[in-house]
């Protein structure tokens, strides 16, 4: 049984111009001790689906799912009070902007101790001791002195370490990291990723890593789920995904990596942007930006079997060639030869 199991999750927001569907029928599962990465551009519904798991979406959000379970318990049927016993204890989350995610009016010690007091019922001395231990664990020098610091006295990297320490406070079974390195310097990014992976191994917890950076995925993840415009378009183990992407969107994302570009050539990019509330196409949502799109794609789209990465595509790629494609298959095969 998987630790986190989501089936057919849909999240819609009430806006002044009607309902906006941010997450559209996404399914996901994450096992104990596994690193699952969710990849996609901005606006692909990565964060929203995880915020739905945490119950952190604003009241304007309408959440429906066939199943949303953590550790066998159905999150949708829980009362808010029951859910708060799990949130912050068994499931913890860290966010994109460490500097604004810590409360500027309270010391690091207070914010760390809060979780320990409410979920573990630790006394003052035990909280202090555990807080120091946690700060040391995430690599903060002189943790005793840091406890009395306010967030504005710390750098971004340091703040993210504190956020990680706070998330780990109650030894969670699942840690959700929402673009944890996006707001940080490149050198600090690598340190934070290493730290997350090390802690994940040491504590045997599951890690859901939300990112738009394929480089981060390659370095950390075991299994990858690609999302586009609120839909899951592909799911594969990381090695297979990088070797043979089945969805044209995944392939395009990979080919836009600088590491993969030919020296001296122009870096390929995906034309256009993710469709929003008002320009949502029918059929395949990626069709307006896809090089292989046909009239069929503009009308409907097929879900492929797991052997083809559960790709949401009429003509899944195998070895870079779209299968059963009416026009391009012959031309492409010729080109490759």
């Amino acid at each position: 049984m998987s630790l986190l199991e989501i089936k057919n999750l849909t999240v819609e927001f009430e806006t002044s111009s009607g309902l906006f569907r941010a997450v559209d029928g996404v399914s996901l599962s994450c096992d104990k001790g596994e690193i699952l990465s969710i990849v996609g551009e901005s606006g692909s519904g990565k964060s929203v689906s995880m915020l739905a798991v945490m119950g952190l979406l604003p009241w304007t959000a309408k959440i429906t799912a066939d199943r949303m379970a953590f550790d066998g318990k159905d999150l949708l049927k829980m009362s808010p009070r029951q859910r708060r016993k799990i949130i912050g204890k068994d499931i913890a989350m860290i966010f994109q902007e460490p500097m604004s995610s810590l409360n500027p009016c309270f010391t690091v010690g207070y914010q760390l101790g809060e979780t320990l007091r409410f979920h573990m019922g630790l006394g003052r001395a035990a909280r202090r001791q555990r807080s120091i231990e946690l700060l040391r664990l995430v690599g903060i020098p002189a943790p005793e002195d840091r406890l009395s610091n306010y967030p504005h006295q710390m750098s971004g990297g340091m703040s993210q370490r504190v956020m990680i320490a706070m998330a780990l406070a109650c030894n969670p079974k699942l840690l959700i990291a929402d673009e944890p390195t996006t707001a940080l310097d490149v050198t600090i990014q690598a340190q934070i990723l290493d730290l997350l992976v090390r802690l994940q191994k040491e504590h045997g917890m599951a890690l859901v890593l939300i990112t738009h950076d394929m480089g981060v995925v390659a370095e950390t993840a075991e299994r990858v789920q690609v999302q586009y415009a609120g839909q899951k378009v592909e799911e594969q183990p990381v090695k297979e995904l990088f070797r043979d992407p089945h969805h044209p969107y995944t392939a395009a994302l990979l080919s836009s990596l600088p590491e993969r570009a030919t020296v001296g050539g122009r870096l390929p990019s995906i034309p256009g942007v993710v469709p929003g509330q008002h320009d949502r196409p029918t059929g395949c949502l990626f069709s307006p930006r896809c090089t292989f799109a046909t009239d069929l794609c503009r009308r409907s789209v097929t879900l492929q079997p797991p052997s083809l990465g559960s790709a949401l595509c009429n003509y899944p790629l195998v070895g870079g060639v779209p299968q059963n494609h009416p026009g391009k298959t012959a031309a492409l095969a010729e080109e490759r030869a």
């Binding site: 966010f95 409360n103 500027p104």
Partner: protein
């Protein structure tokens, strides 16, 4: 810290000079003079009038009168009333506790009702509760204070007969002032029913004086709270599984209090200005009524000295508010 306080005090000097000029000149711009108003209905010969003006030193050139008054201020002499001949400072100290009691009760009422109302309105944004609170705040803020006071008197004192119309305590009770606060003194006197009487006299003026600060504090709290509730750290607090009460009451409110405290500090000026009207309506023997009476009598010394003392208090309170600010907001500790 000491440097900060000294720096702030130094800035107050030009402000004091400005207030002294305004206090000195504005009362003299009004037609009439103290001697004329003292003579009342009786006819006074121009010779007698000139003689009295000379006795009071009011026939000297204005700049000499001003520097005479300024010189007194520097040495701590606020002058003596032209009418009663009592020193301004003595009268002020005697009357100020009444105003302070009324203002303190009003600001406490405004804070105790305004902050929870603002928080509730923000949390239940868009609901009927929010709309009721904000509608009431708008009405309270726009209502002329003297008219509101008269309405309350007509309804509660006149129609229902629940509260007395004017004064601080029933004439049946008499005891020497100890603290100057009627609520405390009535308790200290040990006379049965005295405290209750003082309380019934205090209720209506307190409500009238609290109305505008209450409306301002509620609106400010709501908007500060709405902004703070959308911040990332509130999401972090929710992600810890904390109770909604703790998220709103501790994590959000502490941040929202920063602008609210500034607003409360600014209300001190509003309170003292409001006290002038409220005390006049309810015949409350405080400095507000004292100032109004002095203006009518053209008691130059009292108006000048009283204004300087009131200005001094407002500036002092604002300094204290600025220092409190640092306690709430760790980012600007001095």
């Amino acid at each position: 810290m000491l440097r900060f306080i000294l720096g702030r005090l130094a800035v107050l000097i030009p402000t004091f000079v400005g207030v002294s000029i305004i206090a000195f000149s504005f009362i003299r711009l009004l037609p009439g003079d103290p001697v004329m108003l003292m003579s009342g209905e009786r006819v006074m010969s121009p010779e007698r009038h000139a003689e009295l003006m000379h006795q009071l030193g009011l026939d000297r050139p204005l700049y000499i009168q001003y520097f005479d008054y300024l010189g007194g201020l520097v040495t701590g002499d606020f002058g003596s009333s032209i009418v009663t001949k009592r020193p301004v400072l003595v009268d002020f100290m005697q009357l100020f506790p009444a105003t302070l009691e009324l203002s303190l009760c009003a600001i406490i009422l405004a804070i105790c009702l305004g902050i929870p109302a603002g928080v509730l309105a923000a949390v239940k944004r868009g609901s009927w509760l929010d709309q009721t609170v904000m509608g009431a705040a708008l009405v309270g803020y726009s209502m002329p204070i003297f008219w509101w006071g008269l309405l309350l008197i007509i309804f509660f004192s006149g129609y229902l007969g629940w509260t007395p119309v004017s004064g601080r305590i029933s004439l049946m009770y008499f005891f020497p002032p100890v603290t100057g606060f009627m609520l405390i003194d009535s308790l200290l006197s040990g006379q049965a029913g005295a405290f209750k009487s003082a309380l019934t006299y205090l209720i209506l003026p307190t409500i009238v004086l609290a109305t505008i600060p209450l409306a301002v504090i509620a609106r400010q709290t709501r908007s500060a709270m709405l902004e703070v509730l959308g911040e990332d750290y509130v999401r972090t607090a929710r992600s810890k599984g904390l109770s909604p009460f703790r998220i709103v009451g501790i994590h959000a409110l502490r941040n929202a209090m920063i602008p609210v405290i500034t607003t409360i500090g600014l209300q001190v000026g509003v309170l003292l200005a409001g006290a002038i009207l409220t005390e006049t309506i309810f015949s409350w023997p405080g400095i507000g009524k004292w100032m109004v009476d002095s203006v009518f009598k053209r008691d130059y010394a009292v108006v000048q000295g009283g204004l300087m003392l009131i200005a001094g208090i407002i500036m002092l309170v604002n300094l204290v508010v600025d220092l409190t600010y640092g306690l709430v907001n760790p980012r600007i500790r001095h």
